[in-house]
Symmetry: C2
Subunit: 222 residues, 2 copies
């Protein structure tokens, strides 16, 4: 049930990847709140170097869905091969995730809304661009905005999940959405009311597993 | 005032960069909640490819602060040169931000807690790593967790701001914090109760400015 006054900790602790979405439209006032939550996020130098294309037209969603399905098929095949060393509940859990991913890929264009996030690196100060490892800092000015929107979805009862597979089809995506040369894509988020229970219990590593004291690997006593 | 039940939209819409921090310690139960909020965030393949080193020891904070101050001095000098074309309120606003940045740099080691975020790219599927533009997708598995912690800070009345300047001193940071070879740094977040009003009104671009319909640049009518 939509509940815009959900406490923040409740929303965060129930943010699942919801991959089975109903086709019902999202009411305009709900979509507006979800999008506005994104605009509130901080960004380096407050440049807000992202834009989001809200895709609701059937034909356009379908073109994007076809690209997604092909990428998912490749990814899922690799993922399935990696499961051969698992068994029991661990295997069953991974298979449930894969089945939900298959469902999403098969129904990608049926989600009422696809949010396609774009960014412009010229508006970013990427402090790790010269290092000899993958750069991530540019993401620090776009993913907080996306996370705000995802949390807003949780609080509004809208299913959603952050996908990045379509970066592998960036040229085609830029053509479908008329994205200018100096803008690129960083995520596609399908939105819709959930088929099942939607957001709810999550499985995550604990504070003790993620957080250290004073130096890397040292147990934290808060 | 700490208020763990703050509505999510209230927290998001008042998330400022708070750069003037008191030296008072952060109560353990508050720190625990802030850190736990981060662990709840989604990540690609649920690998949670980040760790955070919680730095509270004075000498260690001081070494980090010295690196930050030097980087800030360089950055601020460039930033100040860029202000020559501004005047009036626009200039005054930028100068207030710079003054707050100067304050933060001068007091970096006096914040009761520095959160140093690390990531491991081997735990990430970076779908934009082969593109001919800066990669950001790795950030999609770390900055949502950091954003959760920052939002938790807002709701707890803790001042904070996401900094990435210290990526320019990654080798030194890795040595100070004993970060293993295959882990890297992506943000440092100083935490503390605010000297002034702390979180509050923000200046952001609107939904109309950030969101398009169907293709890039097309006005969105929600």
């Amino acid at each position: 049930m939509p509940n815009p006054s959900t406490s923040m900790y409740d929303a965060m602790s129930t943010q699942r990847a919801v991959r089975r979405l109903r086709t019902d439209p999202i009411p305009p006032e709900v979509l507006e709140r979800i999008l506005e939550a994104g605009t509130w996020a901080p960004s380096g130098g407050n440049t807000q170097p992202w834009r989001v294309v809200v895709v609701r037209e059937g034909a356009r969603k379908q073109r994007i869905a076809e690209l997604y399905q092909a990428q998912w098929a490749q990814y899922a095949a690799l993922y399935r091969r990696g499961l051969s060393r698992l068994s029991g509940e661990a295997l069953a859990k991974q298979e449930r995730t894969l089945a939900a991913g298959d469902y999403l890929a098969g129904h990608f264009g049926a989600a009422p809304v696809l949010l396609v996030y774009c960014f412009n690196p010229q508006l970013m100060a990427i402090t790790d661009s010269d290092l000899d490892r993958p750069s991530v800092v540019g993401g620090g000015s776009v993913y907080p905005a996306i996370q705000n929107t995802l949390l807003a979805c949780v609080s509004e009862g809208i299913g959603c999940t952050l996908t990045t597979l379509l970066c592998r089809e960036e040229a085609a995506m830029k053509e479908i959405l008329a994205i200018p040369q100096d803008w690129y894509t960083c995520a596609v988020v399908p939105l819709g009311y959930p088929v099942g229970k939607g957001h709810g219990p999550i499985t995550r590593r604990t504070v003790a597993q993620q957080c250290y004291a004073e130096s890397f690997g040292e147990s934290l006593v808060v």
